[in-house]
């Protein structure tokens, strides 16, 4: 009687397992078939003059105070909750070079994957935006982001997560992000990521001594929407070179994929153990009664 019940449950478990997990286990990643392709920004450090126009217009656009310090070599200016884009100056092997830092709008962003309310969202168009109506301020996005981009309003009772949103509302109107529109050196270029990569490659090909032969963001962390060109290796410009080319949500894959499996297998296994121990106890009792 007990054995039949156990077998039944096991069959149920296997059937249930294949139905729910079978399709997605080892199944190809779901790729949305749509016409919208990712947009991105190309930043060419060799053209950047450190004028901070991008910082100023961004502050204008989003109501932040203007920057009160300038990029100086040796001083590391960081993104803060009142500054969504920052320009730094570095002493490199080819002299002083500027490097801008803002959200990289990754192809498969760690922040969006870590967000349990979908407040951080990777839009179909490309920008990764933060939605105030959903955020509960858990700051998992800050833990997950390999670039340490999102910043938090610690000193406000109604805190927000602050990071570049590629002027998403303006993009809907057909405009470009304000930093791109207003860069006097034309160091910033907005367009489809696919086109930007081609342009970047063309630039390197056209002037191979001028550029470092890497497009940062082409493959890093699975590819980012904001890609960078520079004249020197990127480690000299404050970039990390150990972030890998795997998109960060992949790190959670094994764990998250095994959750349904555990929820199916454990109960069946535990029921089996339980029946076995009950049977053993009954046998022992019977033996004692007989003797």
């Amino acid at each position: 009687m007990g054995i039949n019940r156990r077998n039944f449950l096991k069959t149920l478990g296997v059937v249930g397992g294949t139905l729910t997990v079978g399709k997605s286990f080892g199944a190809p990643d779901s790729i949305k078939k749509s016409d919208t392709e990712f947009s991105g920004i190309l930043y060419d450090s060799t053209l950047c003059g450190g004028c901070q126009s991008c910082e100023i217009v961004c502050a204008d656009q989003y109501g932040f105070p203007y920057p009160d310090d300038e990029p100086v070599p040796g001083v590391k200016r960081e993104l803060i909750e009142t500054r969504r884009v920052v320009v730094n100056c570095f002493n490199t092997s080819k002299g002083e070079q500027y490097m801008r830092k803002a959200c990289n709008h990754c192809n498969n962003p760690a922040c969006a994957s870590a967000c349990l309310t979908k407040a951080m969202l990777k839009t179909d168009e490309g920008p990764v935006i933060w939605r105030e109506d959903k955020c509960m301020g858990c700051r998992s996005c800050m833990i997950a982001c390999p670039f340490d981009v999102p910043k938090f309003d610690y000193n406000s009772p109604n805190p927000k997560i602050q990071k570049c949103r590629m002027c998403f509302e303006l993009l809907q109107e057909g405009r470009q992000p304000v930093c791109v529109e207003n860069c006097p050196a034309e160091a910033l270029l907005f367009g489809k990521r696919r086109d930007l990569i081609e342009i970047a490659k063309a630039r390197i090909f056209a002037e191979p001594e001028k550029y470092n032969h890497t497009i940062y963001g082409e493959h890093e962390v699975g590819g980012t929407g904001v890609i960078y060109l520079a004249s020197v290796p990127f480690e000299e410009l404050g970039f990390r070179n150990d972030l890998g080319t795997v998109s960060y949500p992949e790190f959670n894959k094994t764990f998250l994929y095994s959750v349904p499996a555990v929820l199916i297998l454990w109960p069946a296994f535990l029921l089996g153990l339980h029946s076995a121990s009950v049977e053993r106890k009954l046998n022992k009792q019977q033996k004692e009664e007989e003797s």
Binding site: A114, M136, S140, M142, D242, T254, V262, L270
Partner: protein
């Protein structure tokens, strides 16, 4: 409920709400002061923002409340799934005396420590979002952990309901809840496996930020195994304190099986820590971390693994072999320190380890952390003094699922008494 029952119920509640025992004990005084201070601090925190009370940092977004109360505290609640596994699944009656207390402790731990998570949320009024389906961030590990916390709290509560119904003399309800026990225990064990490892999985994406000696893809598995002996060590400490503090509430059979239970738990701890140690070494080999050992971080890692994992493992072994409860207690204390160290290392100490600035929590954070723990202890004490957690079930409870010690043949117990006869020396 008719009027009589209604007034009877009210009288019962008001009687139960009165404090039993002395009010002005040192513990009461310290905990009440801490809790009052914490309330003030939290009022400030909610009106002026998190940064006003917490040593806020953009590089280390999670402070003491999440890192200590949630990630470390929940590990200690792991005793519930281990003990319920042994009692209800494997049928090991010898642990039955401690099952209720362990489940109660875990229930309160989840309520208050997961509750502490709410304190660390920047916008806690939005916490309802991932729950009501406004937006399920299903790719998020925290989503999974949060849901599991809620479901597991429900499971623990249902597991604890028989005790509540016995206290409130709800006989039919007791039978109903007791019938749910097995299902809820099984569900609880599956949930526990996942969320104990899930707490570790929260850090999987922080690979570039955690020191390589502590980061690996195996963090979830290590967290799960360590929650086993963390929970049991805490049960040992709980039992030790309980035997003294709650001895008036304890059934005699529980008091007399104390030694036996402690030693049995010691054995499980020593074996699970042995396994955990080898898993740690395996992870170490897998990550080719030998290059990091010869550095300050390496020494700190060795202190944690050798001093607070291997050493207590050996202490548990020694205490079990020599049947020495004192050594078992020392081992449990060392283990608890080791778990705190390990969890804090991964979440904050070795997190952003290349950032030279020291981030020590503010005294306000510490006060609130302790206040949460004190509240949990006070509620625990309130319940234990009134409900049959350590005490025996009321006499109207029938059937095998009583809160009694392992079933002895009563004969054998009285036999031992008989043997205590005095032998006289005959003189001529």
């Amino acid at each position: 409920m008719n009027r009589e029952q209604h007034t009877g119920f009210l009288k019962f509640i008001t009687y139960e709400l009165k404090p039993k025992g002395k009010i002005l004990t040192p513990f009461n005084v310290i905990s009440i002061i801490t809790i009052l201070a914490a309330i003030v601090i939290l009022a400030i925190r909610f009106t002026s923002g998190l940064g006003s009370v917490v040593h806020a940092s953009q590089e280390r977004p999670w402070g003491l409340w999440i890192n200590f109360n949630v990630i470390t505290g929940v590990a200690f609640a792991g005793g519930a799934f281990v003990v319920t596994f042994m009692v209800y699944i494997l049928g090991l009656e010898k642990y039955r005396p401690i099952v209720r207390a362990t489940v109660l402790y875990a229930l309160l731990a989840y309520i208050f420590y997961a509750g502490a998570l709410l304190l660390d949320l920047g916008r806690p009024w939005k916490v309802i979002n991932p729950i009501i389906g406004n937006s399920f961030g299903i790719s998020s590990v925290l989503f999974l952990v949060a849901w599991h916390f809620i479901l597991y709290m429900g499971s623990l509560f249902i597991e604890f309901c028989p005790t509540i119904t016995e206290w409130a003399s709800l006989k039919r309800q007791r039978i109903f809840f007791a019938s749910l026990t097995l299902a809820v225990v099984i569900f609880g064990i599956a949930l526990s496996t996942l969320h104990q490892s899930g707490l570790g999985a929260l850090f999987l994406m922080a690979k570039p930020k955690i020191h390589p000696l502590w980061y690996s893809e195996f963090i979830p598995i290590l967290f799960f195994i360590s929650s086993i002996f963390a929970g049991l060590s805490l049960v040992i400490v709980l039992e030790t304190i309980g035997q003294r503090v709650f001895k008036d509430n304890m059934s005699f059979l529980h008091k007399s099986s104390h030694r036996y239970i402690m030693l049995s738990l010691a054995r499980i701890c020593t074996v699970s820590m042995f396994v955990y140690f080898f898993m740690t070494v395996l992870v170490f080999l897998h990550g080719k971390n030998y290059t990091y050992i010869n550095s300050p971080w390496g020494y700190w890692y060795l202190v944690e693994v050798l001093g607070f994992v291997l050493l207590p493992c050996m202490f548990f072994l020694y205490g079990y072999r020599r049947r020495n409860i004192q050594i078992v207690r020392i081992a449990a204390a060392l283990t608890i320190i080791g778990i705190i160290l390990n969890r804090l290392n991964i979440s904050t100490i070795a997190f952003q380890w290349y950032d030279r600035s020291v981030h020590f929590p503010t005294w306000m954070e510490i006060v609130v952390s302790f206040a949460v723990i004190f509240v949990q202890i006070l509620v625990f004490r309130w319940i234990v003094r009134r409900m049959p957690v350590y005490a025996e079930s009321p006499s109207w409870v029938t059937g095998e699922k009583q809160n009694k010690s392992f079933t002895l043949k009563d004969k054998s117990f009285t036999l031992n008494n008989k043997r205590r006869k005095k032998w006289k020396v005959s003189t001529k």
